[in-house]
């Protein structure tokens, strides 16, 4: 019964339903960002790089919805989101400043397959994150570490200042692993005594970072829209194949 098989395959799966989740823990990452660990009933598991939609409902029934990248590795038993505060945002101030363990809200996902990677997809990897755009890339690197992979991974994170830099200690701790190269550039205020890059991402930086287009790396670029457009143009200009460049844009601010 081919028809029945097709209908079965096209039947909406149980994946994209709103689930009530409970906050297990909150951890401050920077003065403006925090990681929220969630208990999600019947979570189907995610691929590194995917995101979730999050929905808050006020007492009067008003709802606000935003998308957040998953920060944790698929191998972890809890779902972690890292949320950065958006000034005059509607959702992020609540998540970053108000949320407490035991609080509940709704989540649906995992969502997306274009901006996702698993060790089984192979490499090498070229990951470029701007600001909180590093969050889905961190999920990929945590996944890579959890699987004990030595796939070549070259990572560039652009942060405004050392204070705003997410996961800096964890990335430094991961870096001695074979095949992982992490570079930072600080666009405003570098750490004291910093001798590294102190400017916007440019072509020379990407060339130094590698791997070059000859190695045909899988590139993942995430961050604010102008950042992503800029980096993707640099990569195409350097000779990387457009279909190898996966992009995810947060828009001007997020929310």
């Amino acid at each position: 019964m081919a028809g029945a098989a097709v209908l079965e395959r096209l039947r909406p799966g149980p994946r994209l339903v709103w689930r009530t989740v409970t906050v297990r823990d909150v951890v401050d990452e920077t003065p403006r960002a925090r990681t929220v660990a969630l208990d999600v009933p019947d979570w189907p598991g995610h691929r590194a790089g995917q995101h979730v939609d999050l929905r808050l409902t006020a007492d009067d029934g008003y709802q606000a919805q935003r998308s957040y990248s998953v920060a944790s590795a698929p191998e972890l038993d809890t779902l972690e989101l890292t949320v950065e505060l958006v000034d005059d945002g509607e959702v992020s101030p609540y998540l970053v400043e108000e949320l407490r363990p035991g609080d509940e809200f709704e989540v649906r996902g995992p969502i997306g397959g274009h901006f996702a990677w698993s060790v089984d997809d192979g490499g090498p990897l070229l990951l470029v994150g701007g600001g909180s755009g590093v969050v889905p890339l961190m999920s990929m690197l945590r996944h890579r570490a959890a699987r004990g992979s030595t796939i070549d991974a070259h990572v560039l994170v652009s942060a405004r200042s050392a204070e705003d830099a997410l996961y800096r200690d964890e990335l430094a701790a991961l870096e001695p692993r074979a095949g992982l190269h992490v570079a930072w550039t600080f666009t405003r205020t570098p750490p004291p005594g910093w001798k590294g890059w102190h400017r916007r991402v440019d072509g020379a930086m990407l060339e130094t970072l590698g791997p070059g287009p000859g190695a045909a790396p899988r590139a993942f670029v995430c961050g604010p829209t102008p950042f992503v457009e800029h980096v993707a143009e640099l990569l195409v200009g350097a000779g990387h194949r457009p279909r190898d460049i996966h992009t995810e844009r947060f828009g001007p601010t997020g929310g």
Binding site: I111, G112, G113, F115, G251
Partner: protein
């Protein structure tokens, strides 16, 4: 404000499309009716206003228009979509 400052991409509306489609939307390939380029929906530009408009990342023509009216969705598709 420049376009580069206001749009996101097809990844951001995957949840909205996931309400309707039984297949994962961002990896769904679309061949453009105007320029012929084939790109996954996740790579399309998304413009948010009263609903969402997805545009071809190569030529900029309208690819998908999504109207959101409460629980109702109205979608206009342009181009050829490959399943899977």
């Amino acid at each position: 404000m420049a376009d580069g400052d206001t749009h996101t991409d097809g990844n951001g509306i995957a949840g909205l499309l996931g309400e309707i489609l039984a297949v994962e939307a961002t990896t769904l390939h679309r061949r453009c009716q105007a320029c012929g380029d084939e790109q996954p929906l996740g790579a399309h530009r998304a413009y948010h206003g009263a609903g969402v408009v997805l545009r071809c990342p190569s030529c900029g023509i309208v690819a998908v228009r999504i109207g959101v009216l409460g629980e109702r969705r109205a979608i206009e598709w342009h181009g050829t979509f490959r399943f899977p």
